[in-house]
């Protein structure tokens, strides 16, 4: 089709000429503010309040998942375990364990928070590392008319808030009511239990021993398997997750849920440990709970080379692909759950009930057509977004070439704002993922079990101010060999 010729340009008016110049230069000349002279006013510093006001203070913050409440009717965000607290479907009065101790409270205790004549009845949740004597309450909950999902869940701060200080309330009174409320968190245990799951060193320790991460574990002998070693002639997919840059923001979790048609199961099912997220972010605290180190560890399927799940499935519903993926065959699965029991990473998810809505027509349009909607009684788990791999394979075959590095982005990877997740072909030594895996910081999680996971982690190297923070010894295990 012939392209119509552009109309002949009319002569530009003086303003248009000027306008084009401004656009080209990116600024309008001679519009700068006059420079100001700045001087430090020492007196003002002295005038600032010298002591923290006594008593408890409530701080009002936007919720990490539903923000100010505008997303409160979104099931994905409600079920998303909140950054740090891992709470779902609720907000709570967050306080440090020390403050809770002082008030004789534990997580789930319902308290009355009184400020002036206003009272709010809300359950407490202990948040290690929270500032002492401060209670954080997130916005967006307790709405009466928010829609099918969001109505009537959580606790609204507005009954307490005043226009005078909308973001905080000083001098509140907290009284224990004796009632308790079931707050549902996806992670009940905060401690690493001295296990070498998250490996951390200071820069100094790293310089002394760049291989510190590998040395924290006894690595099994290569080739120690009953079964024939698999050979990967073509692609061999792998992933590396850099824990140095992961902020635990949860983008990957929601991206995965959207990409893979992961159902929302509701508070009662989450309470029973049946959340369906294929990718979760494990959060651990280490050290003093009033001021701990916090670690985030994204946990997708590790796609083990010698996968414990595969050998125990009686019907061969989970098998190894020739590219090293640990495939899940939904229509072959009978749901014995043996694979999940034998998974050391507990990344498998089971459809205990019919979680996906198969009948509502409008939901069909919301789903990813490239991913099976799972039925009741079937096991599922992270696939490394195999549908994206296959799409790239089709494209590359049409163009008669190999899949390029970076051509396949998993959903979690594409959503990660800090590029903590790297995915690609580990058969190609030049691929981004191979380069990350070549780092001395790269380590397999629970490698001593000889699962040989395709997903590996980059150990954390921190550079703390040694005057503020004493150096901790490396790891908990003796050196491996």
């Amino acid at each position: 089709m012939a392209i119509a010729p552009l109309p002949t340009a009319a002569p530009l008016s003086p303003f248009d000429q000027e306008w084009r110049r401004w656009l080209h230069d990116g600024l309008i000349p001679n519009t700068a503010f006059a420079a100001k002279t700045v001087a430090l006013q020492g007196a003002a510093i002295g005038a600032a309040p010298s002591a923290v006001p006594a008593g408890l203070e409530v701080v009002v913050r936007p919720d990490p998942s539903v923000y100010d409440g505008r997303f409160v009717n979104n099931g994905w965000l409600q079920e998303l375990p909140k950054w740090l607290t891992k709470l779902t479907w609720d907000n709570a009065a967050l306080m440090s364990p020390g403050t809770a101790d002082k008030l004789n409270l534990i997580s789930g205790d319902v308290v009355d928070i009184k400020h002036g004549s206003n009272t709010l009845r809300i359950p407490v949740w202990l948040a290690p590392g929270h500032a002492a004597d401060v209670i954080t309450i997130h916005l967006g909950y307790g709405r009466e008319r928010a829609g099918r999902i969001g109505s009537g869940i959580g606790f609204g701060i507005n009954s307490l808030r005043t226009t005078a200080t909308p973001d905080f309330l000083s001098g509140v009174e907290v009284t224990k009511t004796g009632e308790s409320y079931e707050l549902v968190s996806t992670q009940d245990h905060w401690s690493l239990e001295g296990r070498n799951l998250v490996r951390v060193a200071t820069t100094e320790q790293f310089q002394q021993d760049p291989n510190f991460a590998a040395k924290q574990e006894h690595q099994p002998l290569v080739g120690l398997t009953m079964f024939e070693e698999r050979k990967y002639e073509g692609y061999a997919w792998g992933m590396a997750i850099d824990q140095n840059v992961c902020t635990g923001c949860n983008s990957c979790v929601v991206a995965c849920q959207a990409e893979n048609n992961v159902p929302v199961v509701g508070k009662a099912q989450v309470a029973n440990g049946r959340e369906m997220h294929w990718l979760r972010i494990d959060r651990y605290y280490s050290g003093d709970l009033e001021n701990p180190d916090t670690y985030h560890q994204p946990m997708p399927c590790q796609q083990c080379e010698s996968a414990p799940c595969e050998v125990v499935c009686p019907v061969a519903a989970t098998t190894h692909s020739d590219e090293g993926l640990n495939d899940m065959v939904y229509n072959r699965c009978v749901g014995t759950r043996y694979c999940s029991n034998n998974c050391p990473y507990k990344v498998r998810r089971f459809n205990f009930l019919l979680y996906s809505d198969w009948d509502t027509a409008s939901f069909k349009l919301a789903r990813n057509p490239d991913v099976t909607v799972r039925s009741r009684g079937v096991m599922e788990k992270c696939t490394y977004c195999v549908q994206r791999i296959n799409l790239a394979r089709v494209t590359s075959k049409l163009e008669d070439r190999q899949i390029r590095d970076g051509e396949v982005l998993t959903a979690c990877q594409s959503a990660c704002p800090t590029e903590a997740i790297v995915f690609g072909n580990i058969n190609d030594p030049q691929s981004a993922v191979s380069k990350v895996k070549a780092s001395t910081l790269n380590y397999p999680l629970l490698g001593e079990l000889n699962t040989r996971p395709r997903t590996t982690y980059v150990a954390i190297v921190r550079n703390p101010n040694t005057e503020l923070e004493p150096t901790r010894p490396l790891g908990t295990e003796e050196e491996g060999h």
């Binding site: 009940d188 009978v334 759950r337 050391p344 459809n351 205990f352 096991m379």
Partner: protein
Amino acid sequence: MDKSHASVAMSAETKALLSRTPAVIEPGHTFESVTESIGHVVLSKRTPIGWFLGFFIAFILLMILNLTIGNLLMKGIGIWGNNVPVGWAFDIINFVWWIGIGHAGTLISAILLLFRQQWRTSINRFAEAMTLFAVACAAMFPLLHTGRPWLAIYWLFPYPNTMGIWPQFRSPLIWDVFAVSTYGTVSALFWFTGLVPDMATLRDRAKSPFARKIYGMLSLGWRGSAKHWQRYETAYLLLAGISTPLVLSVHSVVSFDFAVSVLPGWHATIFPPYFVAGAIYSGFAMVMTLAIPLRKFYHLEDFITMRHIHNMTKVMLVTGMIVAYGYSQEAFFAWYSSNPYEQYMMYNRMTGPYAVFYWSLIAINAVMIQLFWFRSVRDNIPFLFILSLLVNVGMWLERFIIIVTSLHRDFLPSSWDMYAPTRWDFGMFAGTIGLFLALFFLFIRFLPAIAIFEMRTIVPEAKLKAEHHG
């Protein structure tokens, strides 16, 4: 069967020992009195009111089973308390518990037969029935605990199909399918073969033509000819030979479900012998639980004598001690392995949220059974009944501890969680108890609970004849 017995010369000590040991059949019985006392229970027109009461309770429980299974098939196994990480809970606990109970029946009927243990004679029939019913209860769980039982019921069997796909033979669940189905089949054959001569007795003695017809069909044309007896004895012995390895193999395979996995608390080489001992232990407890009321209400004290009670107690003592040794070795291995995951598993069992169950099972299976050393305890029937019930509780708790505490806190602390059963978990368990009891009540009403013809071989009359022939 045991006709050589009388001709064996006994030393003075053996004789003295025997005089202290209660007889396997009380004196004064003849062929006719044996046949009459056992056959009467079945052929009598009057069903005791107690039977109706017991069957009514069993029937209610059976209806709870129907309700639970119906709901389960409608909604999915989410009606139970299972979750991630505790993928198996009551379902597999009950499966292992029931299958373990069955083992005593096979041990009594097969191994004790091969070892010519005469005292097995009066308890083998109902112990075998117990095995069969326990296997029926057990088999229900691995099928119904799957997410899609309508597929699991045949996909786990190797059959040629258009998909060109076989089961995965590396999975212990497939081994289970073979172990349990073999066990069920052999137990049923063994039980039925043993019943044939008694069916003929009942056929001949039944008054009602209907009963005569039914027992006649079940007796497969038995006329009691020498040839029949010779073939019967051969078949029975062969089946005993086939059953004997099953006593060891079935529960070993069941234990592989755990031992083959990577989980701390499951991944242990001690499991097969430890499971087999536990199975026999719990099985004998169940035989005792059934035998005590049976002999009481049907006045069978002459046939199920104190000798049987004593011997069963002794078997429980031995196997219970093996199980207790297993517990000690589990703890020792956890410590000796220096493996933090194993060590934590043991620490969690002893001090964690389920510690009360762990210590209860230790109290029952390691401490309480020491009471069986005392003759006064072995003689105290009501007390033994309570102890045998407690042993069953203890063995159920053992499986709870092995399955739930290993799963609920494994490698990554992030996925640690708690397990709590729902009413449907209890419904399923109570329901299988109902099925078991209902089948057992029907069994004692319609079939001879004690092998009549085998009992006849141990009355003095038989020995007399044997001596004449000898």
